[in-house]
């Protein structure tokens, strides 16, 4: 079954208007749409607070389906739950598209952003309309308040120029039949339990957990501009976490997320077991790893770490280019990112290109988690050129315009609870003259010898810009040795321009992308391994803790009695 894919019919309405369309050709049997449309129509026509303006734009998103959550640790279930749900999001804009209540963070708690609520999952016309009515009312009042505060903010700071607050886009109409698939809970309880039992073979790991989270259902979106979209919503994620302490007592935690768009994409249990074992062995490597006092020299970022490198070095710097005015003014979380001012300038080595293409469903057969057809503002996804031959040419645009880009490029995204902003989908990193991975290592070893270093460093996993899995690679014989408790020093923006080579092999990293002050969105990065000329590492500043007073009871007994079965 193909899911995560919108229907092929695209009927563009021919006008741009502010009133609600007369009657879009909604699927006649879709009660949810009917309820959404009727309540939106009534509100667009009549919602007015005293002599204040009514909304000039309304959007409703309704997401319904089944969600399940199964967790287990050390071979036993901790919880298993599945329940139907329906949640609604209401977005209200007051003012006009040149200046409205958005792109502004009012001071105080819960006074901005979309209205969120839940309603009956039984597709009940009255129940849903009632919830939308109540949410629209609340959100409209909040919008009026934010709008007034924003006007005051503009006065106070004498801001004259503005690129506008909301770009005009073609309304879109697109339907896909709902694709609601169930979860076989019994099966997955057994599987998750079995995956968690893998840790019974790893005495060096103190605490571990395996979680399955599942969502399947339908997402509907309508806006007062006439957009009507129905698509399916599916996400299957398996998370594995482990916590322990190194020999020196330093705490170490690691986690891995495996994400799939459909059951068909989830590997067989044997492969999942192998993956959990691989993860556990990696944790054990770190436990037995040594540290370095200081290191200055070449570093290879490989696999997941390469993807994380590009995330930190590029994606975060070109996301949400508009930023928001922050009434509190004491945080810079909502400032525009640093690369906005570098458009047209060189940000990476000239032989690297970066493209973001949410329309890509798979890369090399691997499903891409960042795939979507329509963004969260009802704008069709677009393939977006970000960096051409090292020069920055594009930014992730939502419908919040900036001086340089007046329109969305279909990257207005957020988690359900958030306000959409310019965000990534599938980032594809393409080097011009890639070399085999083995050659990358040879080059690093050669550089080490030249620099009179005993070893170089390869990083395979990071958390932010802190290495989680890193290894010494000895210059003499290429032997690897795990490292523990190291961090980068002063990485800045140089590294993208200090890449000396990239591999032919490309790795797909599926993850949930979080960005400064923004909610998480499903995303993918397809990246080669890279060799960076010079980076600086040092021993972590974190302090060790005392080891457990007693030994883990299972491994004590296992040591005493080998007959204890491992399920």
């Amino acid at each position: 079954m193909r899911r995560f894919r919108w229907g092929m019919i695209a009927v563009y309405a021919l006008w741009l208007g502010s009133a609600f369309p007369a009657r879009a050709a909604l699927p006649s049997d879709d009660v949810v749409f009917r309820s959404m449309r009727d309540e939106m129509g009534r509100n667009m026509r009549r919602l007015r607070m005293d002599d204040l303006p009514g909304p000039y734009y309304l959007a409703y998103t309704v997401r319904e389906g089944t969600q399940a959550f199964i967790t287990a640790s050390f071979g036993a279930l901790e919880g298993s739950q599945a329940s139907p749900f329906l949640e609604a999001r209401v977005q209200v804009r007051v003012g006009d598209d040149s200046f409205d209540n958005t792109n502004f963070v009012p001071a105080g708690f819960g006074s901005g952003g979309p209205g969120l609520g839940s309603a009956s999952f039984e597709d009940d016309y009255d129940n849903l309309r009632f919830s939308l009515w109540s949410l629209t009312d609340d959100t409209y009042k909040n919008a009026l308040e934010a709008f007034a505060k924003k006007k005051a903010f503009r006065e106070r700071h004498r801001i004259m120029e503005s690129p506008g607050d909301f770009s005009r886009e073609q309304p879109v109409e697109r339907y896909e039949p709902s694709a609601w698939v169930p979860i076989d809970r019994g099966l997955w309880e057994r599987r998750v339990r079995e995956l968690s039992a893998v840790f019974r073979d790893y005495p060096d790991i103190q605490d571990s957990r395996v979680e399955l989270s599942f969502v399947s259902g339908t997402r509907r979106f309508i806006s007062s501009e006439g957009s009507v979209v129905r698509g399916s919503d599916a996400q299957i994620s398996i998370g594995v976490t482990a916590n322990t302490q190194g020999k020196d007592g330093l705490r170490f935690g690691d986690s891995e997320g495996l994400h799939y768009p459909s059951w068909a994409d989830v590997p067989a249990q044997g492969a999942l077991l192998a993956e959990v074992r691989r993860f556990a062995r990696g944790v054990v490597d770190v436990v037995h790893g040594s540290t370095v006092e200081a290191y200055v020299g070449p570093v290879i970022f490989e696999g997941e770490a390469a993807a994380e490198f590009f995330d930190v070095q590029l994606v975060d710097n070109i996301s949400n280019p508009r930023g928001s005015w922050d009434e509190d003014e004491n945080s810079h979380v909502f400032d525009p990112p640093p690369f906005v001012s570098r458009l047209g300038m060189r940000v990476a080595v000239p032989w690297l290109s970066f493209v973001d293409d949410p329309l890509l469903e798979r890369y090399d057969g691997v499903p891409l988690f960042g795939h979507y057809m329509i963004d969260d503002e009802g704008v069709p996804a677009q393939r977006l050129e970000l960096v051409r031959k090292g020069k920055l040419v594009g930014l992730y645009m939502s419908r919040a315009p900036i001086r340089e880009f007046k329109h969305s490029n279909g990257h207005g995204r957020s988690a359900f609870v958030g306000e959409p902003s310019g965000r990534m989908g599938n980032l594809i990193v393409t080097p011009e003259k890639p070399v085999p991975l083995s050659e990358l290592k040879d080059r690093m070893r050669a550089m080490c010898r030249e620099l009179e270093l005993d070893y170089g460093i390869v990083v395979r996993e990071m958390g932010g810009l802190t290495p989680v899995r890193a290894y010494k690679v000895y210059a003499a014989d290429g032997r690897e040795e795990p490292l523990a408790g190291v961090e980068f020093v002063g990485a800045g923006f140089r590294p993208l321009r200090d890449i000396v080579a990239a591999s032919k092999e490309r790795y797909v990293f599926n993850f949930l992308h979080g960005s400064n002050g923004r909610t998480v969105v499903p995303a993918s990065i397809v990246a080669p391994a890279i060799l960076v000329q010079e980076m600086e590492l040092r021993k972590t500043e974190r302090k060790p803790e005392r080891m457990p007073y007693l030994e883990h009871p299972y491994f004590v007994e296992k040591g005493r009695d080998q007959r204890i079965p491992v399920r």
């Binding site: 009534r42 279930l77 919880g79 739950q81 839940s118 009956s120 309309r129 009515w133 103190q206 009871p553």
Partner: protein
């Protein structure tokens, strides 16, 4: 003094089984005992400070929540979870790591801990792994805190109450009762709550409403290094509905009714529920149209359930043991022992051992508290005189032992809490007469009207010295009763002024109509199920004022149904 309590190394066998029953060993209890016994014997020998007491409490919660609104299902959730609480004490019962930290550092002193989920299955290695980890973490933080306690004690002034930190109790409890999860026809109940919730449709003044069915089986296991080993359970079933509105001047109004039982067959008939709903709708409508209260001081009647909530909040929380000892507390009643605190014909006791009150289920019932101490009836007030406090295992001056009121929600440190607080009057009159007495009192005080509090809700605020000392009560439904015999009139926006403890001494008479309030009480050890029972009370004087209202306006458009599109 270094007291080492005896450690029993338990056989993982089935000592808890009644002799007649077929014996199925409980792997969870076995895991608890094995890990506890290993930890206690080995950690007791630790380098820094001796571990002198350890207990584990494992709380299983199995439940169902069906919620509906306007005739459609909004929630259908089944849940089961298991949480572990570990209590670790280092030092000695005289002075240990749980001792209060006073002065400058007292703000850092929180009893809040993480709510720890552990496997719901009976897998001993997985359970023991979780217990090992929590014990280690608990032991480390106990050592750290013990060091702070000793330093704090050295640098701050001597305490008024120098009682020990942990009580010595009698024979550790060994007990087992296993409550079964009931057979529930989920489809039937889903359709019932839908039908109930549909009752509030088409009422344009109702801005939110719903009906729900909640089932929760709580199964607790407890073992301690003193040798306690027990398992005890409670089943809570609640059918409820709610409806709310808002006035043009921005005041939120709501009516709620919950039917609490422990047997499905005890739920009221459809007919009763429909009649109650009709009444709640009428009350909400009356409240919406009601005038605002003017400041008033004079006689009032607290109707039975309202009086019960009043006693729970205003009296009950102030006789919790820890409030007499903690230096940050107001200690309203600490020095009132043996003195009158309530009118002389009133007695108050808390009795968690009562499962029903005149046939009505009491949510506050339990057999053992969260420190493994058997629940006990505690006579708090006899003939108006304060006699006792609610005690857990933290002694206070004059009260060296627990009386089985140590309670908590998983993830919190245990403190003394109420179970079922019961107000009794030695003289009682029928309600009609109590009302006549109110009118007579109006004449005596030359007031044109008095107030009847029909419904009040409780809310936990603070009893500390640094803030207003009030477990707040909020009147929800209040009537004016006129001296000249005019019909009663609903008023809204009533707020009781100040800390109304004085009201207890001004109880003039009581009705013969005791009724049960069942609820969940929130305080520093989390939410615990409680009951409060009281007859209606006539109080000679209470002062009220207008409540501060919210700023939100009512919805601009009417609800969608019935409105022209």
């Amino acid at each position: 003094m270094k007291t080492r309590h005896g450690v029993s190394v338990f056989a993982a066998a089935c000592f808890l089984c009644p002799q007649t029953a077929r014996c199925v060993p409980d792997p969870v209890l076995a895991a608890m005992q094995e890990e506890l016994s290993r930890s206690f014997s080995q950690l007791g020998r630790s380098d820094t400070a001796p571990l002198y007491y350890l207990d584990y409490e494992v709380t299983d919660s199995t439940g169902l929540w069906l919620g509906a609104s306007l005739g459609a299902l909004e929630a259908d959730v089944q849940n089961s979870s298991r949480h572990l609480d570990t209590d670790v004490r280092v030092g000695s019962p005289q002075l240990d790591n749980t001792h209060e930290i006073k002065g400058r550092d007292s703000w850092m002193d929180s009893s809040q801990r993480a709510k720890v989920r552990i496997p719901i299955e009976g897998d001993v290695p997985a359970l023991r792994a979780a217990m090992w980890q929590q014990t280690d973490a608990g032991f480390k933080s106990a050592l750290e805190r013990y060091t702070k306690v000793k330093t704090n004690r050295a640098v701050t002034a001597a305490e008024e109450d120098r009682s020990p930190d942990f009580s010595q109790e009698g024979v550790p409890a060994r007990h087992s009762d296993v409550v079964e999860y009931p057979q529930i026809d989920q489809k039937l109940w889903a359709s019932r709550v839908k039908v109930y919730s549909a009752r509030f449709k088409d009422l344009p003044f109702v801005f939110d409403s719903g009906a729900g069915m909640e089932v929760n089986l709580v199964d607790r296991r407890f073992v301690s290094s003193e040798g306690a080993a027990l398992r005890t359970g409670n089943l809570y079933i609640r059918l409820s509905y709610r409806l709310s509105s808002r006035t043009m001047d921005g005041m939120d109004l709501y009516r709620f009714k919950g039917y609490d039982v422990d047997r499905l067959s005890d739920l009221p008939s459809d007919e009763t529920i429909r009649r109650d709903m009709g009444q709640s709708i009428a009350e909400l409508k009356a409240l919406r149209d009601a005038p605002l209260i003017e400041p008033y001081a004079g006689p009032v009647i607290l109707k039975n359930r309202a009086a019960a909530v009043f006693f729970h909040e205003i009296f009950g929380h102030r006789v919790e043991g820890q409030r007499q000892k903690k230096e940050s507390e107001g200690q309203t009643f600490t020095k009132k022992l043996g003195q009158p605190v309530v009118s002389s014909f009133i007695s108050v006791y808390d009795d968690p051992t009562l499962e029903r009150f005149r046939g009505t289920f009491l949510r506050g019932a339990y057999r053992y508290d969260d420190e493994g101490i058997p629940a006990q009836r505690v006579a708090l007030v006899e003939g108006g005189i304060l006699r006792n406090f609610l005690m857990n295992r933290m002694p206070i001056r004059g009260f060296p032992r627990s009386n089985g009121h140590g309670r908590r929600e998983p993830g919190h440190a245990t403190v003394a809490r109420m179970g079922s607080i019961i107000v009794e009057a030695s003289q009682a009159v029928p309600y009609a007469q109590l009302r006549r007495m109110l009118v007579e009192e109006l004449a005596r005080q030359k007031k044109s009207y008095g107030l009847v509090f029909d419904d009040i809700s409780g809310g936990y605020t603070m009893t500390g010295r640094g803030s207003a000392q009030a477990f707040k009560v909020q009147p929800l439904l209040v009537y004016k009763v006129y001296a000249d015999g005019r019909p009663d009139e609903v008023v809204r926006g009533v707020d009781i002024v100040g800390t109304p403890i004085a009201g207890f001494m001004k109880i003039l008479a009581a009705g013969d109509d005791p009724a049960v309030f069942n609820g969940t009480c929130g305080a520093e050890s989390g939410g615990v199920p409680v009951s409060a029972v009281s007859p209606s009370l006539l109080i000679s004087e209470m002062e009220v004022e207008k409540v501060a209202k919210s700023q939100s306006k009512p919805p601009i458009l009417p609800p969608p149904y019935g409105d022209k599109p």
